[in-house]
Structure formats: C-alpha cells, structure tokens
C-alpha cells in the first residue's frame, strides 16, 4: 500500500503542492487529471524524490518516512519501490532497448547479466518489441521508445509505476500503442498512478480519478461519478473545457 500524508512542495515562494493526502491500494489504477501547472507532475516526482518535498509523510510498502528527515538510504529505498515513466521517454541513449530494460536489474538489483538479459527479453516480448532488442533509442519511433520506457519501469517490479504524461510528447499516430500497453498492464492489476490528459483512458481504465487544482486534491472518485456527476464547480469547469476538446470521450 502507498500512502501520502500532507505532502507539501514549494518552489521559492510558490506552493506547488499544498497538503496532498492520497492512498493507493495494491493493484489500484489511479488517474490524476487537472489543469496544467497544478502540481500533478510534481506530486509524482515527489514520490520518488526527484523533487525533495518540503513536508509530509510517505509510506511505500514497508518504507515509512517523514520526507523532511529522509536519508540517502530512504531516498534510494523509495526509488527502488517506485518506477517512473517519463513524458519524454528519457531512455539511456548509449544503451540498446534490451540494455535499457536490463540496466536497473544489473546495476541496482545486482542480477547476473545473463539473468537480467533473459528477463529483459521476456519484457520485450510482452511490450511487442522482441525484434528491437538490439536497437538503440535513436533508431526507434516515439511510440517504441515510450514502450521501452514502460518496459524499463516494468523490470523494476516496483510497488507502483508512476506515469508522468506518458503520451503527451508522442505524435498522434503513436499514442494508441502506448495506451494499449498501459491498458494491458492495468488488466494485470499493476498498481499505477497516471498523470494524463487522455480522458478516454481515465474513463475506461481508472479505478479512481483524482482531480487536482492549485496544488490540492479537489475531488476524487470512480470515473463514472467524477465524469458524469462531478460535485465541485472547478471539476465541472475543467471537464467541460477538456471534453469539448476531446469530443470522442463525452457521453
């Protein structure tokens, strides 16, 4: 189980996260939506200390820390219990698709190279890129790169995979294959926390949708409730704007 309590993050004078409380059950798929600049990505980045939060308590499985007192070891432990999928893929440019997936297993989990490569090949099979094992990121399409990015996260066997707008940098033609892979992971009950503007994905896949604005969680609930009967006027306002731009999703 993952638990965030009263998480606060400031950049200078700006409070980006203003006391976030969130609990995620094992196997739960949570989608975070909200206007740009409301701290959705920062929330994800605070969970693995890519940003250092200013206050709050973080529970990741058997790790339980006051974020202001987190030691180097706590931070490494948090990172090993989470996996991150980046908006811009962030693959290691000097490593092949196979090596990108195996890297963490070899360096962090200290697996022998052969075992790590065997696991990476299984994952490549699952993400449909077995034939691209020896391809370097520069020769892969955006969609393929992001699937490798997801494969790298899958290899970590983390408590939760954090997706930071995984389709936002993709050309429209590649979005579907990435969403399809995420749906497959969701069907396998991989715990996921997804920041996205893909309302269709949120509606179809999420167990719970969280609406954030101004660094706070305004409203959360199952997609049927949040999309069809939003309670807060800010949620209604946001959904009206977004769904007007994505008519395929509106009912």
């Amino acid at each position: 189980m993952i638990k965030v309590a009263n998480l606060v993050k400031r950049f200078g004078d700006t409070t980006v996260l203003d006391g976030i409380d969130l609990e995620i059950e094992q196997g739960e798929i949570i989608v975070v939506i909200g206007p740009s600049g409301t701290g959705k990505s920062t929330l994800l980045r605070c969970l693995n200390f890519l940003e250092r939060p200013d206050a709050g308590r973080l529970t990741l499985g058997d790790l339980d820390v006051d974020v202001t007192r987190a030691t180097k070891a706590d931070i490494l432990a948090a990172r090993r219990r989470t996996a991150f999928v980046f908006q811009n893929y962030a693959l290691f440019a000097n490593k092949t698709a196979l090596e990108n997936i195996a890297e963490g297993l070899i360096v962090v989990n200290r697996w022998p190279k052969a075992k790590a490569h065997a696991r990476a090949r299984e994952i490549l099979e699952r993400i449909g890129l077995a034939d691209k094992a020896d391809a370097y990121p520069a020769s892969l399409s955006g969609g393929q790169q992001q699937r490798v990015g997801i494969g790298r996260a899958m290899a970590a066997q983390a408590e939760v995979i954090l997706f930071d707008e995984p389709t936002s940098s993709l050309d429209p033609e590649w979005v579907e294959e990435v969403l399809a892979l995420m749906k497959r992971l969701a069907a396998e009950r991989q715990t996921m926390l997804v920041v996205t503007h893909e309302m269709g994905f949120a509606r179809d896949v999420a167990d719970r949708v969280v609406f954030m604005e101004g660094g706070r969680i305004v409203e959360q609930g199952p997609p049927s409730q949040l999309f069809n009967a939003p309670r807060d006027p800010r949620t209604r306002d946001f959904l009206r704007k977004v769904l007007a731009a994505q008519p395929a999703v509106s009912t």
């Binding site: 490494l76 996996a83 962030a90 000097n94 370097y136 520069a138």
Partner: protein
C-alpha cells in the same frame, strides 16, 4: 644542381626519427597528466564546489590567457629563481609541466561541457530506477560525455604533439631541436625544415585517421 637536395633529405629522415620517441613521450606524458587534471577541474566546475570553483576558474583563465612559450620560460628560467627545490628542473620536465597545465586548462572546459551536455532527463531516469550518483556517472553520463569530448580531446593531443617543438627553446634536443642542429651543420635549412614538417604532418595525419575510426565506433548508438 637541383632545387632540393633529396639525398640529404632522405638521409636526414632516420636521424630525425630517432628523436621522435622523445617528442611522443613528452606529448603522451603531458596528455595523460593533463587529462587527469582536466577531469578533476571539470568535476569541480560541474559540481560547483565552493572555494575550489573560484580557484579553478582563475587557473583556467591564466593558463588559457597566456602563451605556452611564456609559461615554459616561466617554469624553466623563472621558477627556479624563487623556488629553490626547482633548481634541478630539466627542460623535459619543464616542458611536460607546461604542456600539462596549459592543455588541462583547455580540456577542462571541453570535458565540463560534455558532461553538462548529457540530457538531464537521462540522469533523472537513472536516479528513478535507484542508481546512486556514482553508478549514474559511470554507466550513463561519462560514456556519453566521452563520445562528445573525444574529438576535441584528440585535437588537443594533436596540438600538443606540435607544441612539444617548443621544448627546443629550453635546450631539449627533440625532433625540432635535432633538426635545428642538423640544419646548422649542413646549412641546408630549407631541406631540413621541410623534412621535419613532413614528419610532423605524417604523425598528425596518422592520428587523425585513428580519431576518425574511434569516432565511428563511439557513434554506434547514434546511427539510424
């Protein structure tokens, strides 16, 4: 009588080549020491270590801002007058010292730029899977920075080989010093210096060929 005395030039080649090992040894020693120093300086700059950062900037500014020949004279003729333990300094040591400090100043900035140039998101990705800073540098950043820095560093090495010829002004009989002596004996200055020019040129071309091969290999991951 022909314009050029080819027989003299051909006879000169083996004599001059016997001084080539000294020239290459000074360049190699200077390069290795300069690389080590430059890496240290680059890391100080990248991490912005307080105190050391300012000292590094001053060092780089001085050794880039003054001619190598001035630095060599300073080490060989100047320093022994102030620092007693340097009275024994010989021309070869002074040359290696000068080459090291001078080229380290240039190379530090190239190495720093190469490290900083590695896409920041890859650093975050490496941290996100739980790598330590050391693992991140060793496995992700430095291999990519090397690829960026190698062409420039090879250029500095080529430059350094040519710069060893300044050692002759400190009384070292290396490739250039030997040529000067031979020419003074035969009075065939044009033949002597054109011969040594061709020898330097040949070495540099050989290195440039190695550089192209190395770059081809380092670029493996970036070909589409």
């Amino acid at each position: 009588m022909s314009v050029l005395d080819f027989d003299y030039m051909l006879g000169l080649v083996p004599i001059l080549l016997s001084y080539l090992p000294l020239t290459l040894a000074m360049a190699a020693a200077g390069m290795v020491l300069a690389l080590v120093l430059a890496c240290g300086l680059a890391v100080i700059r990248v991490l912005g270590i307080p105190g050391l950062n300012g000292a590094t900037l001053l060092f780089i500014s001085f050794f880039r801002g003054t001619p190598l020949l001035v630095q060599l004279f300073l080490f060989y003729y100047g320093l022994p007058q102030v620092l007693a333990f340097l009275t024994q300094i010989d021309g070869i040591t002074a040359t290696i010292m000068g080459l090291t400090l001078h080229f380290a100043a240039y190379m530090a900035e190239s190495i720093r730029a190469a490290i900083v140039g590695v896409d920041r998101s890859q650093t975050e990705a490496a941290l996100s899977i739980g790598m330590t800073n050391g693992q991140l540098m060793r496995r992700i950043v430095l291999p990519q920075a090397t690829r960026v820095a190698v062409p420039t560093l090879m250029n500095y090495f080529i430059d350094m080989i040519k710069a060893t010829s300044l050692a002759f002004t400190l009384g070292v009989t290396e490739l250039m010093g030997a040529t000067q002596k031979e020419a003074a004996g035969s009075f065939l200055y044009f033949e002597a210096f054109i011969t040594v020019a061709v020898i330097y040129w040949g070495i540099v071309e050989l290195l440039a060929w190695c550089q192209r091969r190395l770059e081809w290999r380092l670029n493996e991951a970036y070909r589409r």
